[in-house]
């Protein structure tokens, strides 16, 4: 009957109880939406970084990472590429020749990182081919074509078919330069990439990087110079396994995953859970005071009745339990509805996405996509349900304590 009594008590003031239920369900919905938003943002940032530049795994000559000198290229890059591609979990792998130098137009100069790529392999690893907003991604056979970011194009004041000059040191340390025509312009969604990274065909870059070969001289350097093998997996689950396989097969090379290559990505990844928890805690704090306020009112307006219950023999434990039970019942009404609404919202916007193109400049600045897809780790559902239930119990303790502090002899006479 305590359950029955508690259940009927919560419907004595229907409006007030519904307000609490709605507050609880809105709190849960908001917590789920905010967590989904934050997780989606973090995931978008990570995904963008992986797809635009970092990939899941990179392999380098150890000294290339340490010194950044182009002379530390990968030995037997073709064997490495073939081995990587033979792994089942590998979605794509590409070799990159990387130099840093200057890019100049007739109007301006900028520092830049140049990737010499095989466009077919690169397309399987990164999304530059999809990010093309003008021109193409090396689809014609012409030599010395370059693809650069929109931001860099703006800075250099160049457009499609404009001529730019790349200047950098070749493998012998001699300054070399080559003229390229703009074949494509991309917008990767990451402003930093867009204003600093240019892509050319690997064969064109090798022609400048290894001039003696081009001139038909001695074979001082191998025919293919690659500094980086970038590997994209079908998901991050097998990242450690594939990394280990590559490392075992090529023990002299440095195999790193994106978490090691870009600590900010690891930070984002680990903080997704924390961000969700912080949102949840803030919302639960607001909920605590709402519940305390309501239940305190419920107790204060029933002082005489509570006094009577204790007078006729309802002990303090039972009175206490009744108040806690009433709060729990309100919570149990709000939680499933809130979780269901939250689930629907997160699922819908996870599938369709939220169009944030109105803030595209700011989004790109932070390396985020314009379409944000909400995403919620299943553990957050558990956290929310447990969190709200514990919050409700905690919030009911003070009103319940107030109730059992009543002296029946005084409470009975309360008007």
């Amino acid at each position: 009957m305590i359950f029955q009594l508690a259940w009927r008590n919560i419907w004595r003031n229907r409006t007030r109880s519904l307000v609490v239920v709605v507050a609880i369900l809105l709190g849960i919905w908001a917590a789920m939406f905010m967590s989904g938003f934050a997780s989606g943002m973090a995931r978008s940032y990570i995904q963008n970084a992986i797809e635009s530049k970092v990939a899941h795994i990179q392999v380098h000559h150890p000294k290339f990472v340490e010194e950044g000198s182009t002379i530390h290229y990968l030995p037997q890059p073709e064997a490495l590429l073939a081995f990587a591609k033979s792994q089942a979990a590998v979605e794509g792998a590409t070799l990159r020749t990387i130099v840093t130098g200057m890019i100049g137009s007739s109007r301006s100069n900028r520092g830049t990182e140049v990737w010499g790529i095989s466009s077919e392999d690169e397309s399987a690893v990164s999304t530059f081919d999809d990010d093309i907003v003008a021109g193409n991604f090396f689809t014609d056979e012409r030599k010395n074509q370059i693809v650069l970011g929109q931001k860099l194009a703006d800075n250099l004041q160049v457009k499609l078919r404009s001529k730019v000059v790349l200047t950098f040191q070749d493998l012998e340390g001699i300054i070399t330069a080559g003229a390229f025509r703009v074949a494509g312009i991309y917008e990767s969604g990451n402003a930093e990439v867009d204003e600093s990274l240019v892509l050319v065909q690997q064969t064109d870059l090798l022609g400048l990087l290894t001039p003696t070969q081009e001139a038909g001289g001695q074979d001082t350097f191998p025919s293919t110079i690659s500094h980086e093998l970038a590997v994209l997996l079908d998901g991050p689950r097998q990242i450690d396994t594939i990394g280990q396989i590559l490392q075992n097969a090529f023990p002299d090379l440095l195999v790193e995953n994106y978490r090691e290559l870009a600590p900010d990505l690891r930070l984002y990844e680990t903080q997704i859970q924390n961000i969700s928890l912080i949102y949840l805690i803030i919302i639960l704090l607001a909920l605590v005071f709402g519940i305390i306020n309501t239940m305190l009112m419920a107790v204060l307006e029933r002082i005489r009745e509570l006094g009577m219950l204790m007078a006729v023999g309802m002990n303090k434990m039972r009175v206490f339990s009744m108040i806690v039970f009433e709060t729990l019942l309100l919570t149990l009404l709000g939680v499933p509805v809130g979780v269901f609404l939250g689930y629907l919202t997160v699922s819908y916007f996870g599938r369709v996405g939220i169009d944030l193109s109105a803030f595209s400049a700011a989004m790109q600045e932070y390396g985020l996509s314009e379409m944000l897809h909400l995403e919620l780790d299943p553990i957050v559902y558990t956290q929310i349900i447990i969190g709200v239930t514990i919050t409700a119990i905690l919030a009911s303790l003070y009103p319940a304590w107030k109730a059992i502090r009543l002296r029946p002899v005084e409470a009975i006479r309360t008007l």
Binding site: L5, E305, V312, G313, M314, N315, P408, V409, I412
Partner: protein, 232 residues
Amino acid sequence: MSIIKTTQITKVYNPDKVPVRALRGVDLSIEQGEFTAIVGPSGSGKTTLLNIIGGLDRPSSGDVSIAGQDISQLTDNELIDFRKDNIGFVFQSYNLIPVLTALENVEFVMLLQKRPLAERRARAEELLEAVGLKDKLHKRPSELSGGQQQRVAVARALASKPAFVLADEPTANLDSSSTAQLLDIMAELNQKEGITFIFSTHDQRVIDRAQRVVTLVDGHIDHDQDRRTQPQ
């Protein structure tokens, strides 16, 4: 045999500030089966005495023995259990549980006593029939008149098979007809089943029906009239 015995009980409110002496050495003994009214002007200590006898309040000094047990030594929770099993209460404002039906209100104390459902249900129905509310079993208090509510309160007070029933101004909010009906029911229960009733009241109609009238003045017993042995 006395079921209630108070020995030199005093009650002082605000002892450290402005002391108010509500009771000044009250000796009272009530036997099983009495139908007793405690009367007196406002502030005479009627309610305080009733609260102390009912285990709702503690005396500042003196002893209170109910059915042979000194209740002044009990803790708050022990007192709640003691009240549940030994004392029935009828309050001036009925104080029924508004969300429960008449039947459930009467069952409630038996539920606290952990009596089986069948026994609870049977006794509650029997008591409500005894107070003339057989056709109102499933009505909530808001659907009953004041007199009917007070009759439910009487049935509730009797449900736990208490040693006695304390009724604090039970007719204060009732009209003449309801008062007469209620008094008839309580008198009948007293005579037929030997249930002890103790009232605090101002109501002459209650006083007229009482077998014993204890008059309190300024916190002490001024007059104790037993009408079973003395002429009225």
